[in-house]
Every structure is written in structure tokens, then in C-alpha cells.
């Protein structure tokens, strides 16, 4: 197990911070924007459902960058470190490290320019608009990047089936919430088509298009009746590989 995958259900955490802002510091908007542009110019979009003309977009970015990249980074963190940083701090750490690791930016130039902006917070950014890239960004935001694919395997479960959740090896990234592992549930919906996740999660099991099922769990089957509230049902959308038949 990896702590980041087992956040659901952790006890004795005290009150939730009911902060309704999307960004609590102005700088957070910029890293959100950078990440989203990276998603919009990711090379994999050439094969996405709306076949984006990525090769024609004038950008030096030649990488696959999806939600999975960011999440693999956060889930790959040392678990105790994970809790030391605020949401967008983790993004900033992960994304700037990515650009350094891939050679787009040298660590020293980043450090030096950071010092410059630290001393001159109002110093402007370079002025180099890129209208074609902008158009691609807008297109991506409006048309998205669906994982819907043609099924390559038969549907294994039907609505009403009892299923058990698998317990694959902990990987750096998973779409299986930890608290559901080894638990018993009931299929409530079989989504039409199959869905391909952005990346293979290795031993965790996501790879290629898979059926996805909505599965319901009685909260008491997960936590035990005395460790949860009555009349509570948890629904999760689970990829085929995360499910096992009941027998």
C-alpha cells in the first residue's frame, strides 16, 4: 500500500478546511495554466478522439503530458512529504522538475531567474504570443480528450453481479482507491464502450481499453457497521482489471 492511495477512510483527522477559493495565492493560477497548456499540446493528442493536429502546432514541447503525469508525480512522492505541501505547490515542484529532467530548462537558469523575479516581482514576462498554440489550447479545452475506445474484450459483469475488488501491487499511480481493495460490491452500471487510461500503470493493471463498471459498496461492508454511518452507499467507477468475480 501507499499512503496517498489510502486517503479515503483515514480516521481522526479533525475538521475539514472548508476553503471555497480555487486558488489561495495568485501564483497558483499560473502553474495551473502551464499544466493545462502542456496537456493541450501533448503529443498523444494526435491520436486522441478529436484527432488534434498537434504536429502542426508551433511548439518545442515534444512530450506526452496528461493528468496521469501529474498524478504519478504526486502519488510517487514520499508519503510523508506529500502532506507537507499544498496542492499547487506539488504541481509546481513536479512540473518544474519535469522540465529540468527532460532538458528543456537548466536547473541553474531556473534558479537564477527565480532570484531575479524574487527581487523584481513585477518584472514582466517575455512578450511572444503564439496564436496557433492559443487556438489549440482553446480547442482542447472545448473538445477534451476522451478515453472512449472500442471494446477489445467481452463484458465480464452485468448489473446486479456481486464482485470483489482486486488488490494489485502498489504502483506509483493507480485509479483504484485503497479503501476498496478486497471489498465486496455490486455492479450498478456497465458503461457502454471501453475506456483507455492515459498511461499503463504497470503491475497495477491499467493498459489498453477496458470496460468500466460503476460498483456500489455498502459502507458497513467497507468499514464495519460500528466504524461508519448507517444508510450510506459508496459508488466507484472501476476499470475491469480491478474487479474479480464473486465465486
Amino acid at each position: 500500500m501507499k499512503l496517498q492511495h489510502y486517503i479515503g477512510g483515514l480516521e481522526n483527522l479533525g475538521p475539514v478546511n472548508f476553503e471555497k477559493k480555487v486558488f489561495v495565492a495568485k501564483w497558483e493560477k499560473r502553474i495551473f495554466g502551464i499544466h493545462t497548456v502542456m496537456m493541450a499540446e501533448s503529443t498523444h493528442l494526435a491520436h486522441a478522439l478529436p484527432k488534434y493536429p498537434i504536429a502542426q502546432v508551433p511548439t518545442t514541447f515534444k512530450e506526452t503530458w496528461t493528468w496521469a503525469s501529474l498524478r504519478t508525480g504526486a502519488e510517487g512522492m514520499q508519503p510523508f512529504e506529500y502532506f507537507k505541501y499544498r496542492y499547487y505547490e506539488k504541481w509546481l515542484m513536479g512540473i518544474s522538475q519535469f522540465f529540468v529532467d527532460r532538458g528543456y530548462v537548466a536547473a541553474e537558469e531556473l534558479a537564477k531567474l527565480t532570484e531575479h523575479y524574487r527581487a523584481n516581482p513585477d518584472a514582466p514576462l517575455p512578450e511572444r504570443p503564439n496564436p496557433i498554440l492559443k487556438e489549440q489550447v482553446v480547442k482542447y479545452l472545448n473538445r477534451g480528450d476522451s478515453g472512449l475506445r472500442a471494446p477489445v474484450a467481452p463484458v465480464r459483469f452485468a448489473v446486479g453481479d456481486t464482485v470483489y475488488v482486486a488488490d494489485p501491487e502498489a504502483a506509483d499511480h493507480t485509479r483504484l482507491p485503497g479503501f476498496l481493495r478486497n471489498k465486496k460490491g455490486t455492479v450498478t452500471e456497465v458503461y457502454p464502450g471501453a475506456f483507455e487510461y492515459f498511461v499503463s500503470t504497470g503491475p497495477d493493471g491499467l493498459a489498453g481499453p477496458q470496460h468500466v463498471y460503476c460498483v456500489s459498496f455498502d459502507a458497513s461492508d467497507i468499514w464495519g457497521a460500528d466504524k461508519c454511518e448507517p444508510h450510506t452507499v459508496i459508488y466507484a467507477d472501476l476499470f475491469d482489471v480491478y474487479l474479480k468475480p464473486a465465486h
Binding site: 492511495h5 502532506f83 496542492y87 514576462l125 511572444r128 503564439n130 492559443k134 473538445r143 454511518e229
Partner: protein, 207 residues
């Protein structure tokens, strides 16, 4: 309370300078244009945001047939309204669930922060708080009580953990004494929190 937001100024200033340096370098290196990030941010001010969700919910309140269609095939019913970008990023596959006298729905993402961008915009901080993600799936009523939303033990609570392609949102219950309001007036009452299931829609002041 987790002091997530009272970092010292040095830490914030360091992050601010670093992100600015990063953006500057990426512009210089041709990874971004200087108008790229702003294009993203402007999308969430004008195209994708909770104003869409609020109008969809208000329509559902006013038109029970529309509500039925919205629950049956969410993307198709949303398409009827001709808002732009409604199946765009993080909204490729959305589903609505409805609160009622007997059921309260709560949307969560225990693994991260999946959120239906086209109809609700970007997730607020409470949704990303590990404490919410931890407690919401085990003691939803206790969390809702803290948020000022009492849900009795008799009422069924349905929790939707976003773990694959679907992005969920909630059609809250229409408040009492709202018969005199039109769609825009109703929409103005509806918060992102209500459409995630952590707030109710308050009754409007008497007409």
C-alpha cells in the same frame, strides 16, 4: 484546523518567483506562448464554470421532463442548452445525480481532485483537502454537519468517488418558496458546493 493557508510570506514569495521564472523560460524556449496561460485562465472565466451548472440545475427544477432527460443521459441533455465546450476537458463524460427527500448525494475524489470542469469550473480547496477526501467516504454526515448541512441518519447518503472517466455532479433540491423565481434568479442561488453535495440551496427571501 489544518493551517494550509498561512504559510509564511517567504514560502509564498519563493513559489511566486519560481512559477514566474518557469513561465518566462518556457516562453523563451518556445514551449508556451506568452498568451497561452492567459488563454487557459480566460476559458475558466467565460466558458467553463459553475454558472453553467447553475443554469442546468435551474432548468431541471423548472422542467421535470428536462430533469428526467438530464439524469438519463447527462451529456445529451446538457447539449440541448447549446453551451459551448460542454464535453471539453474534464467533462468528456459527465453524470448528474439528484438529491431528493430520501437521498442525499455527495461527490468526492479520494485519489485526487477529479471535477466536472465544463459545468463547475475548477475545484475549490476544500474538495482537494486530504481531510475531506479521507472523511467524506467514511463519515459524510459528520462532515456535512460541519459544513452546516444536517442530514438525518434515516436519509440515504450516496457517495460518488470519481475514480475513472465519469465526472459527477449533484442536482440539489429546489428550495421552498422559490415558485416566483425565473431560471436566472434560481441559477443565482446555486453554488458549486450545492452541486457537489456539501451545501443546500437556501430558500430565497420572500417575494
Amino acid at each position: 484546523m489544518t493551517p494550509l493557508f498561512d504559510y509564511d510570506e517567504n514560502r509564498e514569495a519563493a513559489s511566486a518567483a519560481k512559477v514566474r521564472a518557469l513561465e518566462a523560460l518556457l516562453i523563451k524556449k518556445g514551449v508556451l506562448g506568452s498568451d497561452s496561460v492567459d488563454a487557459v485562465l480566460s476559458h475558466f472565466e467565460t466558458v467553463a464554470g459553475p454558472f453553467n451548472g447553475a443554469r442546468i440545475v435551474a432548468r431541471a427544477w423548472l422542467d421535470s421532463d428536462y430533469k428526467r432527460r438530464l439524469l438519463e443521459d447527462t451529456p445529451k441533455a446538457i447539449a440541448e442548452l447549446h453551451f459551448p465546450g460542454m464535453d471539453g476537458a474534464e467533462g468528456e463524460h459527465m453524470k448528474a445525480v439528484a438529491n431528493s427527500e430520501s437521498v442525499h448525494n455527495l461527490v468526492i475524489c479520494t485519489l485526487c481532485s477529479c471535477y466536472p470542469w465544463p459545468v463547475l469550473g475548477l475545484p475549490p480547496y476544500w474538495y482537494k483537502d486530504p481531510v475531506f477526501r479521507a472523511r467524506g467516504v467514511r463519515e459524510p454526515r459528520a462532515v456535512l454537519r460541519e459544513f452546516g448541512v444536517p442530514i438525518s441518519a434515516e436519509k440515504e447518503v450516496k457517495i460518488w468517488d470519481s475514480s475513472a472517466q465519469i465526472r459527477w455532479f449533484v442536482i440539489p433540491e429546489r428550495p421552498a418558496n422559490s415558485e416566483h423565481l425565473n431560471e436566472a434568479q434560481l441559477a443565482a442561488l446555486i453554488t458549486p458546493e450545492a452541486m457537489m453535495g456539501v451545501a443546500l440551496v437556501p430558500a430565497p427571501p420572500a417575494a
